[in-house]
Symmetry: none
Subunit: 120 residues, 2 copies
Amino acid sequence: MFLNRLTELRKSKRWSLQYIADRLGIAKSTYAGYESGYREPSLEATKMLADLYGTSVDFLLGRVTEPNHPPAIQRTEHIELLELDQVTITVDGKSLSSGEIKHVIAFIRVLREMDGTAKK
Amino acid sequence: MFLNRLTELRKSKRWSLQYIADRLGIAKSTYAGYESGYREPSLEATKMLADLYGTSVDFLLGRVTEPNHPPAIQRTEHIELLELDQVTITVDGKSLSSGEIKHVIAFIRVLREMDGTAKK
DNA sequence: ACATATGTACGCGAATCGCGTAAAATTCGC
DNA sequence: GCGAATTTTACGCGATTCGCGTACATATGT
């Protein structure tokens, strides 16, 4: 079995088998076979798994111990939380609704406000 | 075809199909199938190929352009809030710190939990 | 306790693999 | 150049493996 890191990765993100299967467009039982070692994914599926989990194929295969070696050039993209059109933010595999985003923004503002006043 | 870098790698080292096949312990025609795209190697064989060529599986799969750099991470449309090394989320123009992100995740979890129990 | 969601196990048809074989193409000595 | 040896490409066959649906087991939430 070469993908024994899959389960811990998925659980660390609180994703279900069904969620992963849907994202990959495969059956739940198929993905379950990957985690249990009963089946081996194709290279294509393995690549998609690395994308989904935000890691490298080498890490999934246990060829490397670091889950995310930063790329040589760190190109960070900035997204303002209020202007989310093309990108979906998820928590525990469920995308944030527009209502939740508003709450988050309010929450962050209060959080920062408290930080400012408390530290005076 | 996902392994089109194999041929150039092999030729850059002036190796023959037979040589690689022997090193891997497979038939020459089998390895030839990998290069031509006629067949797809198992994950195990893919790992051995990366070892042989002294590169990463991610490079063999074209997931990364640099043969010797550590594998990088690819961005998707969906971004799990836990994996924000690649993208920076901002609120009011100020990027979320890792601590704030943790708070947001906890906040969302509680929010959803409450939503479930206290249905008016 | 019940209903729903999540995880596990397995049989079947279909797709793919690895191999041997052999023809095409390239390289090499002369 | 020219043939022999090496390398590369192509393909059929048997066996393996895949992906799916289904069914069952376990966990979670109302």
